[in-house]
């Protein structure tokens, strides 16, 4: 991948937190390398304390790295022109709680130097985008978690950013709120935004992301597209009804069949050549074939596998 394609580049990033009680320090990020391409949605996933938020905070210049470099649009984060092209949604939506949505968005838009007329337009557009018109005058402290999260996303969009950095955008939301937020992220993706996202919710990551990086103990232990991470299907599942007792046992004894349990016949993908023979045998044994699938491992499976291997 050439540098021109990369909107965000991290090389050898290391962050060690030192304190009086831990003079040797705690390594929060350890020699991290990653890059995010223009227009893609990249997600960093990992368990608590894996260094995801620390990485984002370094990228945004909120904390400083112990080693390594970061660049966004080819420049350092201290460059104001870079920050003018970024939008950031912090975890747990921390905004001034005594102001309402209108006031907050007007304030954040003002930090980009927009005129009062443009700010008024932006406030309307953004409240409409995140579905907060009806609650525009509700003080932030009285907003529900979902409303807060949507307002926080709106403030991240005041400058129509090219790169959006979202830290746990669905954290603490109920299923309806999560669905709404996922739809908003997909809409932003459709509009061509480059998105870097940190999340615990693997299902949501699977839904919106093009590439995923799995972080564990500060290191990137796996990275790639979902297909790359999941790899090729390793087994074939045949869902069957009407196959019980001795008939099921007979099917289990067929060449290539690994297991018959709860109406599902499991075959190794390596024995795909035996599939038709097995299907015919099931049919003759009185079973009704409902479906044949070659499932890929889910992100959850990949995540558990990657973390498990590292933990060993």
């Amino acid at each position: 991948m050439s540098n021109e394609e990369a909107v965000l580049q991290v090389e050898g990033l290391t962050k060690i937190y030192r304190s009086l009680f831990t003079p040797a320090g705690v390594k929060a990020v350890d020699d991290l390398n990653l890059s995010v391409r223009r227009g893609e949605t990249y997600s960093i996933v990992g368990p608590n304390g894996s260094g995801k938020t620390t990485t984002l905070k370094i990228l945004l210049g909120l904390i400083f790295p112990t080693g390594g470099t970061t660049s966004i649009f080819g420049k350092g984060i201290s460059d104001l022109s870079v920050r003018a092209r970024i939008g950031f949604l912090p975890e747990d939506a921390y905004l001034y709680d005594c102001f309402n949505g209108e006031e907050l968005l007007d304030f954040y838009a003002g930090l980009f130097g927009f005129s009062s007329r443009r700010r008024a337009e932006l406030v309307e557009e953004l409240l409409s985008l995140v579905g907060m018109q009806a609650n525009r005058r509700v003080p932030f402290r009285e907003c529900s978690k979902g409303m807060r999260q949507r307002l926080a996303l709106a403030q991240a969009l005041v400058n129509d950013p090219e790169l959006l950095i979202l830290d746990e955008p669905t954290s603490g939301l109920d299923p309806a709120g999560r669905h709404q937020m996922t739809r908003l992220i997909l809409e932003l993706k459709r509009r061509g935004k480059t998105i870097l996202l940190c999340s615990h919710f693997l299902a949501e990551v699977e839904e919106v992301c093009d590439r995923v990086g799995i972080m564990y103990r500060g290191r990137l232990v796996a990275e790639g597209t979902l297909a790359e991470l999941a790899g090729e299907p390793t087994e074939i599942l045949i869902t069957v009804t009407g196959l019980e007792g001795a008939a099921a046992e007979k099917v289990g004894g067929q060449a290539g069949v690994m297991e018959v349990r709860d109406g599902v016949v499991r075959m190794s993908k390596a024995d795909e050549g035996q599939l038709w023979a097995v299907l015919e045998f099931i049919h003759r044994a009185g079973g009704v074939i409902v479906e044949v699938t070659r499932p890929r491992p889910t992100l959850q499976d990949v995540f558990v596998r990657a973390i498990g291997e590292e933990a060993k």
Binding site: L60, G61, L62, I63, F64, L80, S81, R83, A84, I86, F88, P90, D92, Y94, L95, Y96, C98, F99, E103, F107, Y108, G110, L111, F112, G113, A152, Q155, A156, N159, I165
Partner: protein, 299 residues
């Protein structure tokens, strides 16, 4: 020795300001056009936030009530009452101003970090020094508005009392309004210096430490002449330490004209201006240090 040391420290301070400005000129000059609106925006939201804090409103109502209630000490002679009103009113303004200054300034930046509201600001095109300056400007506006309102109330009370007693025989109330306003303005300048110092401390220390330090600085700053006398009579390391304290801690008592005003003594405007100019230089150095420290702070 101390006067010379004071002048030397002042010159060193100005030299630091000049050096920092010269060194960082390339960095801030292109952004200067952007900095002022950002500082103003942050100041405005700081003021708006303070306006909605009920505790400030409640304490202010209390202070207004204290000033107004002083009007009802009818057993005093008009002259004594005038003295008491001026002295008590200015003392209320000063004490409330100091408490407010500590309350507003000590919590301002640490609370932004603890509440993480700073993330959404510093991830925007806002430099850290703009954030610190915006917060300071906001605190100045809040303090200015409150000191202004309380001064107007005090002046109103004095005028009201003057009207009430002017027909009485053998009474000279003499509210002495000009010096009263002058003393209130000088209190405001003292608070401006104190606020800058509290903000500097808050960029490196916890909120508790900042509040504690603020009270100590206020106490020491108000007793600088006594500290000078102590230093003159001390020896060795104690002498040096006291001279350092005398020269580093702002001389808040130079801004205090309450005694002269309430006792109808002549007020030296020149010494007031001297204190203001010294205070501005001191504040500039302190704010530059605050910006430098906050620039390196991990939030």
């Amino acid at each position: 020795m101390s006067a010379a040391l004071g002048k030397l420290l002042f010159i060193i301070g100005l030299a630091i300001v000049a050096a920092v400005v010269a060194i960082t000129r390339k960095a801030w000059a292109p952004a200067a056009g952007h900095a002022l609106p950002s500082i103003w925006r942050i100041a405005k939201i700081t003021v708006a936030e303070a306006r909605r804090r009920r505790v400030i409103q409640a304490v202010m109502v209390l202070v207004v009530m204290i000033i107004v209630s002083m009007n009802f000490f009818s057993y005093l002679s008009p002259h004594e009452q005038s003295r008491m009103l001026i002295s008590g009113g200015l003392a209320s303004i000063t004490v409330f101003g100091i408490l407010l200054s500590i309350f507003v300034a000590a919590f301002m930046i640490p609370q932004e970090i603890e509440n993480r509201t700073v993330y959404a600001i510093l991830s925007k095109p806002v430099r850290r020094f703009e954030f610190v300056m915006g917060k300071y400007l906001g605190a100045l506006i809040i303090l200015g508005a409150i000191i202004g309102i309380l001064t107007v109330v005090l002046v109103g009370v004095l005028v009201f009392q003057d009207r009430l007693v002017q027909d009485l025989p053998d009474s000279k109330f003499d509210p002495n309004l000009g010096p009263v306003v002058f003393a209130a303005i000088m209190s405001y300048f003292a608070l401006a210096v104190l606020t800058a110092l509290i903000i500097l401390i808050s960029t490196v220390a916890s909120t508790t430490m900042t509040v504690l330090s603020a009270f100590i600085i206020w106490a020491v700053g108000s007793l600088q002449s006594q500290i000078y006398e102590l230093a003159e009579n001390a020896a060795g390391a104690t002498k040096l330490l006291l001279f350092i304290i005398y020269n580093v801690v702002p001389k808040l008592e130079n801004f205090d004209f309450r005694h002269q005003v309430s006792n109808m003594m002549p007020v030296s405007v020149i010494s007031g201006w001297h204190a203001v100019i010294h205070g501005i230089g001191y504040t500039l150095v302190v704010l530059i240090l605050a910006a430098i420290f906050f620039n390196d702070r991990q939030v």
